[in-house]
Every structure is written in C-alpha cells, then in structure tokens.
C-alpha cells in the first residue's frame, strides 16, 4: 500500500500518518485520499456553513499533515450523520463513516475536544445499555400499557418475527405511543412476534459508529449478537432506522448477518391485507420526512409512502426536499445529545427548518418513520409557532388509527 505522504508528495505529521494508517485498515478507508477537492460535500452539508473545517477542508488538512488543527476545531462534532456528503461525493469517499467517524474516535481516545453532553450519553450507554441511564429491567415496561399480548422471548424461544424495539421506543414516553401502535398492528395481523425485553441493549448505531466510540459499539454488538443467537426467528423487525443500519451494515461486518427489516418495509408487504381492513378514513394532507438512515443510507424511500397512500382519505404531498434530497432532522451522529452545542454554532436548528418546509406544503401532519424525529419535530413545531397547524406522527400511529386500534389500553 502506498503511504499517504508518498502519494501526495507531502510529509504529514506523525499523528496524521498514524491516523491515516488506521483509516486505511477500515473497509473503503483507502478511498479517503481519492478526494478531488471539488467541494460537493461542503456545499451539500446542511451545517457546512458553520464549519470552520468542512469535509473537503478536513481532507486538505490531513494531506498537509495538520491533523492537530482538526483536533482544535469543533467542526467534527457538528456532523449529524445525514450522509448528504457521502451520497453525493463523486469520488466515493466514505466521508461520514470513515473521515468523521475516525476523527471522532481519535479525539475520544486522546480525550480532546469531545463535548461533555456526548460523553454523558456514552457513559450511560456503557453502564445501562441505553443513553438515558434507565434500568435495563424497565425496557419492556411499555408492554403493560399495550392492551395486547407482547411475548418476551427468553433464551431458546422462537417466533416468526423478533421485534427489536430500541431505546427511544422502549423508554421515551412520547415514543411509547407509537411502539404500542405497532404492537397492536402486529397483533391484529396475527403475526407471531416477540421482543427480547430486558436482554435488549442499544443497537450501538446512534452513539457509536459515526461517533467514534467503536469500543462501546463492539461491546454492545457482543451482547446483542449473543442474545440474538440464542433465539430463533425468521425476520428481525426494527422501528429505529439507526438500528436498521447497524444490523444491516455493521453487524454482518463483524460476523453476524441478520435478516433485518424496518417495520415500514415489513408492513408494506402486508399492504393489500391492511388496505382491506383499514376502515377508518383519515382525511388529512400528510407529508413524509425521509429518515437519513432509511433513505440516503439504505435507499428505502417507497415502503413508508406505500403504507401512507394505503390509508383511506389520506392525501400524501411532498416537500421540495424529499427522498435522497431530504433535509436531516439533526438527531443523528450524536446530534440528538448535541443540540445546544450545535445551536451555539449555527443558531438555526435543522428540525425547525424542516417543520417549516413541512408546513409550507399545506400538510396538517408530518409523518415520520424514525423514533428520534417525533420528539425533535414536536419541539420544533412549538418553537416555530406551528402548534395546532402541524402535527407530528409516526407512520405506525397513523396506520393504527386507520385500523381502529388507537386509544387507551383495550
């Protein structure tokens, strides 16, 4: 392998060449220096305007052997892992996963410049397996309110569908409504499903892969892959696109291929059946926000739209920035924990911009398929003064209403 300094005719500092050596060992890491400095990444980054070092400049700094400049800059922590840059890069540089992820990993292990809020989320996830610091025992507590039977699969048990619930859907009060909606839909369809209860831990994607905490990711991977191996299932169902990405991309890389499907993909397969039993009309204009981890990162744009269009009375309208051009909610790449850190440097929160785009379409409902987006957009709706005009609802919640499954425990 040609070393970075030879390739570029420059002599990088030791720290820079060490860093590049580590990146080169990762899948597609060697593409980092195929950058042609076109600036597509900087222009397409929703927060590029606030970055002292945009991805293009970061690569230029590495070529000049000046990684220390990047350690001193907050730019690395402004990335919200929206994948716009990676998606558009004409040279196929894995900017988000390798450049940002590895730089963050470097800063974490050197203990320099890591925002305290993110460290707190890591600490809680290390200790308790979720970023809230909640007890793992409480993970399945939501099932008590579900009004339908939700089986907890113990080791050795089997089910057609193993539903990986996730941290936000398990613990966050507002998300639990959508979790219960999905439980009721699965139950109404007669699906043989079960969850892992207290044995489930954070999938590792949100706090780790592009955030640099590879060690934490690996320890979560070890726990989760062991737990999954001890249960039999045909489909692994997830509600969180970040978990979807982790199971689809990262777990196989480490030796655990998984038959994972996002719940919108799974339910889209049932759409003829759903269409037949959806009785309740939902007369509303709805616009759908593409989650970065489902859309740009995994090319699933249709499943959620198929489901929404199957709801009687529902009119689906598009925002100007949709599908691969969708604007990020700002919650990825640790952004959910860094809202104030990012706000101090940008002053225009991404979720606020996005709800304004949604409202401009004339839609009454902003439909989402990622649990982080519900609280993020709901807060933004309040700050943007759109309360009463725009509601934020998960696709599962909309489907449950059309199926007559909403409301208190049945």
């Amino acid at each position: 392998m040609m070393s970075a300094d030879v390739e570029n005719g420059m002599v990088p500092s030791d720290a820079t060449s060490e860093f590049l050596r580590r990146v080169y060992e990762l899948p597609a890491g060697e593409r980092l220096l195929s950058c042609i400095q076109c600036g597509m990444c900087s222009g397409s980054c929703p927060l590029g305007y606030a970055m002292e070092y945009t991805p293009r400049k970061m690569i230029a700094a590495l070529r000049a052997g000046r990684i220390e400049d990047l350690y001193r800059s907050a730019s690395v922590w402004l990335c919200v892992s929206c994948y716009n840059c990676t998606y558009r890069c004409p040279s196929g540089v894995p900017i988000t996963d390798r450049l940002i992820g590895s730089l963050r990993g470097d800063m974490l292990s050197r203990g320099v410049g890591v925002p305290a809020e993110l460290q707190a989320a890591f600490e809680k996830t290390t200790r308790y397996g979720n970023p809230f610091g909640e007890s793992p025992k409480k993970r399945p507590d939501w099932t008590k309110e579900a009004g339908v039977d939700v089986r907890v699969l113990e080791e050795g048990d089997s089910a057609e569908v193993l539903w990986w619930v996730g941290c936000f859907p398990s613990y966050n009060k507002r998300n639990q409504r959508d979790t219960i909606a999905l439980a009721r839909i699965l139950s109404a369809l007669g699906v043989d499903f079960g969850i892992m209860g207290s044995d489930e831990r954070c999938s590792g994607d949100i706090p780790c892969t592009s955030q640099g905490e590879e060690g934490l990711f690996f320890s979560l991977y070890e726990h989760n892959s062991d737990q999954l191996r001890n249960r039999k299932f045909k489909d692994l169902l997830v509600g969180d696109p970040h978990a979807y990405n982790a199971f689809k991309k990262e777990y196989p890389r480490l030796g655990t291929p998984l038959p994972v499907r996002h719940y919108t993909q799974y339910l889209a397969g049932w759409s003829p059946e759903l269409r037949r039993v959806m009785k309740k009309e939902l007369r509303a204009k709805v616009t759908y926000h593409d989650a970065c981890c489902l859309g740009r990162r995994n090319a699933e744009y249709e499943a959620p739209r198929v489901l929404l269009e199957s709801v009687p009375g529902l009119q689906l309208v598009e925002m100007p920035r949709n599908r691969e051009n969708a604007l990020c909610c700002g919650g990825g790449g640790g952004g959910n924990w860094l809202d104030s850190f990012i706000w101090q440097r940008t002053r225009v929160p991404l979720p606020m911009q996005r709800v304004q785009e949604a409202a401009k379409t004339g839609a009454q409902i902003l439909a989402v398929s990622c649990p982080l987006e519900v609280p993020r957009f709901e807060d933004a709706v309040k700050t943007a003064g759109l309360e009463g005009r725009l509601g934020v609802r998960d696709v599962s919640d909309i489907l449950a209403e059309a199926l007559g499954l909403s409301g208190g425990p049945s």
């Binding site: 292990s109 203990g111 707190a120 793992p136 060690g215 690996f218």
Partner: protein, 224 residues
Amino acid sequence: MYVTNEADEHALEQALILKGRDGAHVVAISSGGDEARAALASAVAKGADEAYFAPVPFASRADNHHLAATLASVMKGAGYDLILTGVWASDQLDAGLGGLLAAELGLPYVGGLTSVSAPAESAKATVRKEFPGGRLGVMEVDLPAVLGIQSAENPPRYVPVSKVMQAKRSLQAQTIPPAASHEARVHLRKLTKPEAATRAEMISGSPEEVADRLVRILRERGVA
C-alpha cells in the same frame, strides 16, 4: 450489574484533576467483590498511575470499621498527601468510611466537598464545601488529610470502552489483605427483601373524633 459508586467516581475525577493541575501521582484503590476490579481498570484507563484492590466478602460489606482498618494498613506511612473518598456510598447510604479512615490514620477529615486545591509543595489544601441555604464554605486543611468528595470540579470524564478493555487486560492491581487484628464491630444478621408494610389507615370524622381516635391508638401502642 456492577456500577461504581457515583461519589467515588467524583473522588477519582478530583484526583485526576489534581494530577493534571499539580502533577499529583494518583493511586486508585477499590474494595468489594471481584467485579470491583472493573472500576480499577476504568480508573487506570482514565489516568490513575497505580491500582490496589481490597477484596471484601459480601457478608462483611457493611463493616466500614474493618474496611477502614484494612485500607489504613497500606496507607499508613506511605506518604500520601491526600486521601480522597466518595463522601457516601449510594448502595447503603453510608457516609462513614472517610471519617473512620481519618481516625485510623490520625488525620483531619472534611466531607461534602466540591473542590480541592493543593498546589505542589504546599502544606495545606484549600477545599470548598456547600452548605444548605446557598452558602459556600472555603476551608484550609493541613496535609496529609482525608477528604470526602461530594462532586468533583467537573463531571467525571468519559473514557472510551476500548481503553477500559485494554486496561482490564493489562491491569496489575496489588491486593490489600484484610486487616486481621481488627475485631468486627458490625455484624450482619440477615439480608431480606423489604417487607411490604401494612396499609396506612385513614382516620375520618370531625377534628374531635379524629383526635380521640389518635390518642386511643397512641395509648394502645404504648407511645403516649
């Protein structure tokens, strides 16, 4: 699941702050079952220079007198300027160790601290303690001293999991044998889950009726 006592995490953080500021040499000591070694690995990964482990069987965990004697055996004459302990333990809500340790060592003790300043070569440390009502006490304490840390000057630092794993693999903790000569003064009789208490009885009626009933109950129980 083993979780390090929060106040102890703060004590360690304060020690590491002193290391960064004044070049202190930090020795981490943990006690308990085997899982407490994980806390030492984490301390070393964060920057502690040495690690000691005092094994304590489950049955004698409540005996802080014995633990203080055990820890004092390695601390006596070892030349430490400061011994930082978490001000209390979150499992037993026990805040005894710091004071008992100071008594064993014949050193001054101040607890409930939120900052410690101890410049190198100084014979005194300046400590801050928060009092109720929003008052802040600034005190000087002669060194060496035992301090009970309530919270460090900044939140405990995060250390990446891979570093902790590395430290775990290469951890060389010296074992502190239990103090033999010490007579156990706390005896564990039994451990049970909390028993469900009987229900409260709500007394209704006019104030006079309620008072009469209350007096009767107190007499019956022999309280009044």
